[in-house]
């Protein structure tokens, strides 16, 4: 049994049952923060961001709050492009152009926000089919606002938003871990002073992009639906919806197209099995239900291995294509997948071996460990 050490500069040796209880409460607090749906509060997030820049030795930035990560990405693209072009033109004119750029930054936000908000308002009166296309409309309008302000260069900058973003409350797992050492185990490091601003930004803001001149912070979503394992999930609507109407759809943690939920008739068994992304294909099969898929496609079992991780070889009828074979198999996480395999496959083992590159099943050896 390792010795438990608790000093302000060193924490080792595992945790006590009492500390475990406190940590459970602590993680519940951060999970609640990660799932926040109440509106962002400017008087709390702006000082946190300014403090973050200050401890990093950067000048005070303009802090712009936007309604969603989508608007954030396109506003970032437009603003970064404008600032870059200004610097390239002449550093001497930087001061003179600051005001103009600030306006452009605000306009980028306003345009994208107004467009997105208008659409969100319209959506309320639209029918289910039109709602299903709202994501594409939002993205198109936000992209247009960005392009109007900064052209192709701005759009190219927007595409690179992941290089300069920080997760805010959506990175709550890291913050829970770091603050548990401080708040429960008593670790007190000098770095905690600077970290305090980062922590406040994680409590009071969503995604953000950081630029030497400005920081754009997203509001929290107004809707956030999850399953019993805290994965984003909703069977009847978006898993995430921000106040400008932009939304994301998830099935037990896997992002899926909006129409699979909003217009369920658009998702057929054939669409599901032909989908190229295997995780989304699995989600599609779960949404439709395996029983329905097998019935709809007149499935016939060719061979079923006693090991579910080797799987079941089935043959189905795909309209306009004919009979196709699939390996229905369980992975190490106990989820079920469907993999198309060649029509020459005769057993589930042969099909499973083929998927891992063994054209001759006799050369295939089952893994000792599969996770």
């Amino acid at each position: 049994m390792p010795t438990i050490t608790r000093t302000p500069s060193k924490v080792t040796g595992g945790i006590t049952p009492q500390e475990k209880q406190l940590m459970d409460k602590h993680s519940a607090l951060w999970i609640e923060r990660a799932f926040r749906t109440t509106p962002i509060e400017p008087d709390k997030i702006i000082p946190a961001i300014e403090g973050l820049y200050a401890v990093a030795g950067l000048k005070k930035p303009r802090v712009v709050i936007v309604p969603s990560p989508l608007v954030m990405a396109f506003c970032y693209g437009a603003s970064a492009a404008i600032w870059y072009n200004n610097a390239a033109t002449s550093n001497a004119t930087l001061n003179a152009t600051r005001n103009a750029t600030r306006n452009a930054t605000l306009n980028a936000t306003r345009n994208a926000t107004r467009n997105a908000t208008d659409i969100a308002t319209l959506n309320a009166t639209e029918n289910a089919t039109e709602n299903a296309t709202s994501n594409a409309t939002h993205e198109k309008d936000s992209a247009k606002a960005c392009a109007d302000l900064s052209g192709e260069f701005g759009l190219a900058c927007a595409q690179r938003w992941t290089g300069v973003y920080q997760g805010g409350n959506m990175w709550a797992g890291y913050e829970s871990y770091i603050t548990a050492f401080r708040d429960i185990l008593g670790l007190r490091l000098k770095e905690h002073v600077a970290y305090d601003h980062w922590e406040q930004a994680a409590i009071h803001g969503g995604f953000r992009v950081m630029h030497p001149e400005f920081c754009i912070v997203s509001d929290f979503p107004e809707t956030l639906k999850i399953d019993d394992q805290n994965r984003p999930h909703c069977e009847t609507g978006p898993s995430h919806r921000w106040r400008d109407g932009w939304a994301l759809y998830h099935w037990h943690g896997t992002q899926i197209p909006a129409e699979w939920i909003e217009d369920k008739s658009s998702l057929t068994a054939q669409t599901a099995l032909a989908w190229s992304n295997i995780e989304q294909r699995r989600a599609a099969c779960e949404i439709i239900g395996w029983t329905n898929i097998l019935r709809e496609l007149e499935a016939k079992t060719i061979d079923k291995d006693e090991d579910p991780e080797i799987g079941e070889l089935v043959e189905v009828t795909i309209s306009e294509i004919g009979r196709e074979k699939f390996l229905r198999v369980m992975c190490g996480t106990k989820r079920e997948f469907a993999l198309p395999v060649p029509p020459t496959m005769l057993t589930a083992l042969q099909a499973n071996a083929w998927t891992f590159g063994f054209d001759d099943v006799r050369q295939f050896v089952k893994p000792e460990v599969r996770t």
Binding site: I278, E279, G332, R335, G357, P367, T371
Partner: protein
């Protein structure tokens, strides 16, 4: 953390211990300190620590890679949910096969 002697699988990768590195392999540069054993479109990569592992590939194959594990280390799956459990690798050489699926044109590497 799981361990193995000769053959293991983690998600869509199948790994077999081999005696030596094959001829003609070329090194693959790590990304941000990680060897990406299997790339995922959605960022849920299968990775190892670059300071402990060297990665190689055959010039004409997108389905096979090779690992030289210098110090024992784990293959980890970067996904916060439905995570494939980590597997510990002892020092040695390994052949990694990516999983594939049938298409009318032949086959393609599985995407997730």
């Amino acid at each position: 953390m799981r361990t193995f002697n000769n053959i293991c699988a983690q998600g869509d990768v199948y790994i077999r211990k081999i005696d030596k590195m094959p001829e003609g392999v070329t090194p693959v540069e790590p990304i941000k300190g990680k060897v990406v054993v299997a790339h995922s479109e959605t960022g849920h990569n299968h990775v190892m620590l670059a300071e402990r592992v060297k990665q190689y590939r055959l010039p004409d194959s997108i389905m096979d890679i090779f690992l030289e594990v210098e110090t024992a280390t784990a293959l980890e799956h970067l996904r916060p949910h439905d995570t494939h459990e980590s597997i510990m690798f002892e020092p040695g050489f390994y052949h990694v096969r990516r999983q594939r699926e049938y298409t009318p044109e032949g086959f393609r590497r599985i995407e997730d």
